[in-house]
């Protein structure tokens, strides 16, 4: 079982690499080099703040775009091209193993991608600061939170991919990402409203993914520490949310006629 999931995950990773997904790293590298060279000249005292904001936002944005665009095709593309016939029809591969393998493969792609970008980001920071500060360790936490966001987005895209077309899956996933980014505002709005609106917004706030809790870019840019409790809470939240979404994907895919 584990072996089959690992094999499917590796093949998904290999597909992304051969489809030249990691070419985005070149764009990121150019952004970092230009950013660090320019920032040194145009900003005084706040070079670190600007570079951290630019670097972490770029890492998150590049990853989210890849997560959505690869995630929505994970299953639907396999059904459309009928490539999954040779995997599921006459092999001892269960449908849930296929889903989990595909998801882990995509997460691995995103982690490797984010890893390379992080190396570029820290290199630019080193060039700008001529060394690292103690507060820089929180940058690693911010990067970890970005990866947790990837995990949730991947599982959402995968779920939509099991029953919907790539175009609709993109719209659904992107919409949820945008709504989830403003999840705290939704809660605030609910608190201000009353009656059924309050119940509805509270319900939505619990069901929809809350991406706002993962955004600590501003804090780490200002060298504000990230509490350990938040790291634990966010890790559990991402794990539970991704598990729930992936379970939904498995349930839907398990019942589907693969015509």
């Amino acid at each position: 079982m584990i072996g089959r999931i690992r094999v499917i995950a590796f093949n998904t990773f290999r597909e992304a690499v051969r489809d030249r997904v990691l070419y985005n790293l070149v764009v990121f590298a150019i952004l970092m080099v230009c950013g660090s060279l320019l920032l040194g000249r145009i900003s005084v005292q706040i070079e670190r703040l600007v570079l951290v904001n630019l670097g972490l936002t770029a890492i998150a944005l590049f990853g989210i775009v890849i997560a959505i665009f690869l995630g929505i095709g994970l299953v639907s593309k396999e059904i459309e091209r009928r490539t999954l016939y040779t995997v599921l029809a006459a092999r001892p591969v269960r449908r849930w193993e296929f889903i989990v393998g595909k998801q882990l493969g995509l997460i691995a792609t995103l982690v490797v991608n984010a890893g390379f970008m992080s190396v570029g980001f820290f290199a630019a920071l080193l060039y700008l600061q001529h060394g690292f500060e103690a507060a820089d360790r929180f940058l690693v936490v911010a990067l970890y939170f970005i990866v947790l966001q990837f995990v949730i987005i991947t599982s959402l895209a995968l779920t939509f991919s099991t029953f919907s077309s790539p175009l609709l899956s993109t719209k659904f996933t992107f919409s949820l990402f945008v709504i989830g980014t403003f999840a705290e505002d939704l809660r605030g709005f609910g608190a201000l409203a009353g009656g059924s609106t309050r119940i509805l917004t509270a319900g939505l706030a619990y069901v929809l993914p809350n991406f706002a809790i993962f955004n600590v870019v501003s804090e780490v840019a200002h060298s504000i520490p990230v509490p350990g409790r938040l790291i634990l809470f966010n890790s559990l939240y991402a794990l539970l949310y991704a598990t729930a979404a992936t379970s939904a994907a498995v349930l839907i895919f398990d019942r589907r006629n693969l015509k």
Binding site: R4, N11, T83, A90, L258
Partner: protein, 319 residues
């Protein structure tokens, strides 16, 4: 033991905007394929052959009925490790080479790491793809992809192999190679279930065949027994006077070459045809019985269905 058993296996889809109507694509199907058999599953396009295969492969779920493969249910992973499947017009991960794809699928089938490479090389050699083994599949021709399809179906040395239209898209040489390969697999004791609409292939290879049309089983049995059900034909050759019109009226297909005339006619019309030829003053040269083929059986069944259908339609129209 039966390698494949289906019991009233049926499939229908809900159609229409509100999905209120049901369209039956496979009527309750009961059949058994024995171990070691080469079983042909025949029918015109849209007969329900691929639907049956997809049901057996667990890609789609039956509306009713049940089936077992190698005595186990259709979703049993132990059974799945012992079967191979070539889909119709197979598609593969085109970013992989043939060797990479086969290694990938062999590992999913549970071929031990120690044997995997040897097994992959063996099947690459068997389907004649060793020279192109490291080429990405996106650069393969249709015929080469079909060979990859066959290779992936046998890479884990399965007991039972399902082939959906294995000769489709192949040139005559490729078709012969596939026929030889199926024969070789049969000699190794494998059970083969293959669907085709190319009847000569089925006639050459199959121990038994089933004929399907409009989702319904129309006949099942040994090829020789099935064709025996078709009324025989006789080739009559004569010299002198043509007498063609009278023979055509008796249901004959006629040809002429100079003063020599030939007619292919149903056995039942023989005596009257000979009378016609003699009365016209022609000299009878030969009478040769012609063995009925699977194609004759097939066409006769389909024609009978069309006749029954049109009679039923005219009956409904009259009432």
């Amino acid at each position: 033991m039966a390698a494949i058993e289906t019991f009233r296996l049926a499939k229908s889809y809900k159609v229409g905007f509100w999905r209120k109507h049901e369209r039956e694509v496979l009527s309750p199907l009961t059949l058994a394929v024995q171990e070691g058999e080469v079983f042909g599953y025949l029918g015109p396009n849209g007969a329900g052959k691929t639907t049956t295969l997809k049901l057996l492969m667990g890609l789609i779920y039956p509306t009713s009925g049940a089936a077992t493969i190698l005595g186990r249910p259709l979703d049993d992973p132990k059974m799945k490790a012992q079967i191979g499947f070539l889909p119709e017009q197979p598609y593969f991960y085109d970013y992989l080479s043939a060797r990479e794809l086969l290694t990938y699928l062999a590992s999913l089938s549970g071929v031990p790491a120690g044997d995997r490479q040897r097994q992959v090389e063996k099947v690459l050699h068997r389907v004649g793809l060793r020279e192109h083994a490291d080429l990405q599949l996106r650069k393969f021709s249709k015929g080469m992809l079909q060979r990859v399809g066959i290779a992936q179906a046998i890479v884990h040395d399965p007991k039972l192999i399902f082939l959906d239209e294995p000769m489709s898209g192949l040139d005559p040489i490729g078709r012969r190679e596939v026929r030889d390969l199926i024969q070789l697999l049969k000699d190794e004791g494998k059970t083969i279930f293959f669907s085709t609409h190319i009847l000569s292939d089925a006639e050459t290879l199959c121990d038994r065949v089933a004929v399907l049309n409009h989702g319904q089983l129309r006949g099942i049995g040994v090829v020789a027994d099935l064709v025996r059900e078709v009324s025989g034909r006789i080739e009559v050759v004569w010299e002198g006077v043509a007498a063609m019109d009278a023979l055509v009226e008796l249901g004959a297909e006629t040809h002429s070459s100079g003063a020599i005339f030939r007619a292919m006619l149903p056995e039942r019309s023989l005596e009257r045809a000979v009378d016609v030829i003699r009365q016209s003053g022609a000299r009878l040269i030969s009478l040769t019985p012609v063995r009925a083929t699977l194609e004759d059986f097939f066409l006769e069944r389909l024609e009978r269905e069309v006749d029954t259908g049109s009679r039923a339609a005219s009956g409904e129209g009259a009432s």
